[in-house]
Structures are given as C-alpha cells and as structure tokens.
C-alpha cells in the first residue's frame, strides 16, 4: 500500500547547528522580543493598544533561529503578518457568531493568501487566529490590528534581525528583501 508506506518517511533530519548559531539565535530572540515587549508594557499598555502577540514568538524562531529560511525573509515576515491580520479581522467581523468557523476560515485563508503572494510565514497563521480568538482588546482594534501590532511589531523585530544577524561573520540577513 503506497498510501501507508509514504507515512514511513524517506530521509533524515537535517544536521544540528553549531553552538555559535545557537548563541546568536538566543541573542537575536532575546533582543527582538525585548524590543516589542518593552514597547508593549512601557508605552502602549495604558492606551489600549497592543504591541506583542503570540505569533511574534514564532517569528522569532524563524528570523533569529533560521535566518536563511525563505520563510524568514523580510517579504515573508512583513507580508505574512499584515495579510494574515487583515484576513483574521475580516473573518471575525463577518462570522463572529460562529467563532469556530471564523477561526478556521481565518487560518486556512491566510495560508492560501500567503501562498499566492509568496509571503508564506508560518506565524502569520497565528496572527490570523489571534484576530479571532484574541479577546476583547484585540477585537476592539478592528482593522487597525493589521497596522499595530502586526505591521509595526514585525518591523521592530525586522530591525533587530538586521542589526543582530549581520554581526557574526558566518551569518547574514536577509537572503532577499522582496
């Protein structure tokens, strides 16, 4: 049965990275998340705005931990978050009486749109989902969610990635911009 034999897999896991790569991933993620978290807790918290959302943790894995990945490039980071945010807000506003449908349609459509626009960025799926299940504070933002936190947070994290990832000689970022 070819169908079941496909489930066995065909190859092996990629090699483990060097220890310096581990350390620079840590430094990048620390600084990147520090930046958006500081803005969130020190500046925006009293305004009802949001700067940090869960999907930025996932973006950090990519843009600080897998800097060569096509999924981690600026086009994907920015495009993925912004487009998915718009889709998520739209899904919530059109289908809020059926949260389960809004949630699933938001994520599925976000993936489709990211594919079509060559901006696939896995954390975008979370950004779309958070627009639906993120609670009152997020819902109150409406489409502004796509600008803050999605676009602005991604830009801050991108700036940190550009600064940190180009310090070590063996690393460079990005592979491409657009």
């Amino acid at each position: 049965m070819e169908y079941f034999s496909k489930m066995r897999g065909t190859t092996q896991s990629p090699p483990r990275v060097r220890i310096s790569e581990v350390l620079w991933s840590w430094v990048g993620a620390f600084l990147g998340i520090s930046a958006v978290a500081s803005i969130h807790y020190h500046i925006l918290d009293r305004t009802g705005l949001v700067m940090i959302i869960g999907s930025f943790g996932a973006s950090a894995v990519l843009i600080y931990g897998a800097v060569k990945s096509p999924l981690a490039q600026p086009r994907n980071l920015l495009g993925g978050h912004v487009l998915s945010a718009v889709i998520g807000v739209a899904a919530y506003q059109l289908l809020q009486s059926h949260t389960w449908a809004a949630a699933s349609i938001a994520v599925a459509t976000a993936i489709a749109l990211m594919h079509l626009t060559k901006t696939l960025h896995p954390p975008g799926g979370a950004t779309a989902l958070i627009a639906v299940i993120g609670g009152e504070k997020i819902h109150a933002l409406g489409y502004f969610y796509a600008l803050i936190p999605a676009a602005t947070g991604a830009l801050v994290m991108l700036a940190v990635a550009l600064l940190v990832n180009n310090v070590p000689r063996a690393r460079r970022y990005p592979e491409f911009w657009w």
């Binding site: 065909t10 190859t11 092996q12 896991s13 990629p14 090699p15 990275v17 060097r18 310096s20 790569e21 931990g65 897998a66 800097v67 060569k68 990945s69 096509p70 999924l71 981690a72 063996a170 690393r171």
Partner: protein, 208 residues
Amino acid sequence: MRNSDGPVPEKKLMNARPCATPELTDQDILEAMKEVSGYLDITPGDLREVYLSAYRLAAKRLWGDRKARDAMTREVRFVSPDTSLEDAARLMGRSGISGVPVLDDSKRVLGVISERDFMRHMGKGRSGSFMEIIAECIGAKSCAVLPIRGGKVSDLMTSPAHTVSEDAPLSEVADLLTKRRINRVPVTESHGLLVGILTRGDLTAISL
C-alpha cells in the same frame, strides 16, 4: 605465448566519466549541509532531489535537444557471436577501442563485449580489474588468460545489451551510461538494427 597480443586496456576511455550523474548519498548531502553554517530549512532528501533535477536541466542545456544520432560514431567495428575471442581481442587491440557490439547476420544487436567482459573471466579474483590480473600473471605461473583460451565471443559477451534509439536525447544516454556503469551503448534504428555506437567520449566531445 602469453597474453602479449591481447587488448591493451584503453585507460583513457575507462576513466572518462564526463557525463556521470553524480551518485550522491544522503551522507554526502548531510556533510555538505554541515559545512554551511546556520540552519538550512530543507531535508537532505529534498536537497538531493533539487540538486539532481538541476543537474538534469544542466545536462539538457549542455547537450541541447541533440539526439543519439548527432553524437554517435557511425563506423562501428563489430563481431559476431561465433568470432573467436582471440580475433575479437585482436580487433579491439588494433582499433584501440575497449568494446564492440556483437551482431547477428542481419545486424541485429545481440550483446556487447568489452575489456571488462574479458577481465571478468580472467584470473581468479572476483573484481576483474586489470591490475589484479597483472598481479596474478607476475606472481604465479598460471596464466591469466587460461580460463578463456579457445572461447568464442558468445561465451563472454554481455547479453542482452542495453541499446538506445537514434532519437534518444543525449541527456538520457548519459543517464543510462551512468546508471548501468557502462562505457558505450549501441544505437539502433526503429527495427533494432545497428546504426552506430555512442561512448562516454562521444558525449564529452560534443559538450565541449
């Protein structure tokens, strides 16, 4: 008389591997991935697939749409299954070639006989390498050629032989030579009759 009139192995031809699709193991790919610093977001299996398909495209670019008939040698020396091994060896030695097709009376390809077929049946070693036979000849009194003395081409030939049609793209021929680890392949027309022969050397010559 010892083996002095036998074919002198054409080392140049045997070593030429111009068009070989590289045989990459997963381990090769994994080692190469380790040399790149940073996390590569691809599995060794996928990387290998991409590499091989890029290689095929490059081969196509090098050889273009050219077909077997554009690169083959048309004047083919051949033997029949009843040719004695001695005559076959003399023919190959005289012409400086390392293998010839075996044809029946109507020029249909029955097989191929090459240095490698001779060597496989000479000496006691299993690898059939030229140097192994040399070593045996020097070291012992037994002559390496004894086991095949008095034989006919049909005793040694590789049969059936792989053949390609005149219209086969050169990239496919290169693939076949590599995968089957052979150095030449007879080219046949639509009825299976021999029209030429294509060697690794022919492929390099045309890609230069």
